[in-house]
Amino acid sequence: MYHIRLMPPVDIDATVIANTRLSRDYSVLSLAAPEVGKRTAPGQFVMVKPVGVTDPLLRRPFSVFEVLRDASGTITGISILNKRAGRSTRKLYDLEPGDVVSCLGPLGLPFKPVVAPMEAWMVAGGVGLAPFATLAESLAASRTPATLFYGARTAEELFYLDFFERLGITLVVTTEDGARGTKGRVTIPLEAALKDVGASVAMVYACGPEPMLEAVAKLAARYQQPSQVSVERVMGCGLGGCYSCVVPVKHGNEEANLVRSCISGPVFDGAELVWPSTSLRPRD
């Protein structure tokens, strides 16, 4: 039921246009990969690594953060939101313009869009902001009422707020230290908002740490809203070949099956994922 026909992925040795450090840990890595940008639907991902090295050997999955355009509107590439967590993400953080990365994509199933009168509530935790910039653009284009619930560790790690405001997205932010917005987890204002609305008012989209996804999916179910969550698992290939990125999924009364999040996800119906899922390791 996708409105956009999914295109096959391409593999591009993409030149780094810019690597904008947003903080000590976060950067936005902009890549000259117009063919990937043209094919991307919100929620899809790319597999990335520095070109021609065996350390790291495998690529790492990243949501497409922005589809980049020049002044005339022509698509020039994509960006990814990178958070330093391990060897590979540290190397990506340190890249400079002119460096080259292997970029395979777009991959995976995108978010299923909603249109008014249904609302779109996006729930982002930390680097889980990544898939929502393109989704917000498509929601704005279809004039779907949209809210972003966005939680970060500190005020300094709340990024791109202007970007979402310019699109007319309602912003609700939380920080763990309370320096900006509500103090605590993003699920606090989300639950408050859920209490105030009737059933099936909003599609709840979520991306972030797995405990947050579990909490959001359960809240959405409790308040009778549909949900779509974007999961992040350790992934080897991104194309369904290696079976490393599986998540337990349950349809109706069937037994749970381990399903590849690269080709059957990364976006899943929050009601069909089995919680609590097995351990999730940070990206290395």
Binding site: P56, G236, C237, G241, C242, Y243, S244, D284
Partner: protein, 312 residues
């Protein structure tokens, strides 16, 4: 000069020696959107038992220096669903389909092979007697010379298809296992499966994958795999399908010089799903530069004369 990349494994002729390794290529169909499956010498399916298997809980892989450790646990759809849902599509795509066969007992290997023998379009059977990740995954056959002989003999009697046992490197002398397989009537052997390995998270002191132990693959293992192919080549007459960390045409040629008739690419397909056309181009280029008309002339063409001393 017309270049001939074809190779023969028993009664089977492949247009080129490049085969997608089991467990690294799904059921092949996952890759149809990026690779023309008919251009590959062959495609080996994920390992199949009679019944479906869920495999191990994640995390199932961890990256290590120039390699990766996996313990997927042979998640799979079972042979019947494979024959019904996947094989017709593989045939339609023009793939030469090798099916990796698993068993918890000797009887199960035989039964799975019988099902495949009656199916339309199976090119060969790769007998998985070497998965390091599950206790009942055939390693008890693959780590015993008698066990290897017995399971290959039993399957040999049950099918007309080429039988290719896949050997484990986790033994003292892999060549003796190749000999046991040959004696039992194998048409070829493939080697190596992954090296049993483990990785510990020193911060948490816990294993990096859920199964604790897993199989190491990737460029890190290539020199050991080349050595093992060379050892087998000196002991057996049946064709050898070599694998272990092949990333490009030079690596593939190295295995052929050591005695491999064909090669499998596994981990590199994760790194670069477009690897196949690059390796084919590289083989053509090598043949041009070295005036090789038939690629199969390189099989075992290794010259053991010591290299000249090189002074830096």
């Amino acid at each position: 000069m017309a270049q001939d990349l074809s190779v023969s494994i028993g009664s089977l002729t492949l247009p080129n020696p490049l085969i997608a390794a089991s467990g690294c290529f799904g059921y092949g169909l996952e890759y149809e959107q990026v690779v023309d499956l008919s251009l590959l010498g062959g495609v080996v399916s994920k390992g199949l038992f009679m019944k479906e298997r869920q495999g191990h809980p994640p995390p199932r892989i961890v990256e290590t220096p120039a390699g990766m450790i996996n313990a997927i646990g042979l998640q799979g759809i079972g042979v019947h669903r494979f024959v019904k849902d996947k094989l017709p599509l593989l045939n339609k795509a023009g793939a030469r389909t090798f099916v990796n066969v698993c068993g918890t007992t000797l009887d199960e290997y035989v039964e799975v092979c019988k099902v495949l023998s009656q199916a339309d379009g199976v090119a060969a059977i790769e007998l998985n007697i070497s998965c390091p990740n599950i206790k009942e995954g055939g390693i008890q056959f693959g780590c015993s010379l008698n066990g290897t002989f017995d399971v290959v003999s039993a399957v040999r009697k049950a099918t007309h298809l080429p039988v290719i046992p896949k050997l484990t490197p986790n033994v003292t002398d892999v060549a003796s296992f190749a000999r046991a397989a040959e004696d039992a009537g194998a048409d070829a052997v493939s080697l190596v499966n992954t090296f049993l390995a483990m990785a510990i998270d020193v911060e948490t002191r816990r294993p990096k994958i859920s199964n604790v132990l897993g199989g190491l693959s990737g460029p890190a293992i290539r020199p050991i795999a080349v050595r093992m192919v060379w050892e087998c080549y000196q002991l057996v007459k049946i064709p050898i399908i070599g694998m272990g960390g092949i990333t490009d045409a030079r690596d593939a040629i190295e295995f052929m010089l050591a005695g491999a008739t064909a090669v499998q690419i596994g981990t590199q397909n994760f790194v670069d799903p477009f690897v196949w056309s690059k390796v084919l181009d590289g083989l053509n280029d090598y043949m041009t530069r070295h005036k090789v008309e038939k690629l199969r002339d390189l099989i075992g063409a290794f010259d053991p004369t010591p290299p000249k001393a090189v002074h830096a």
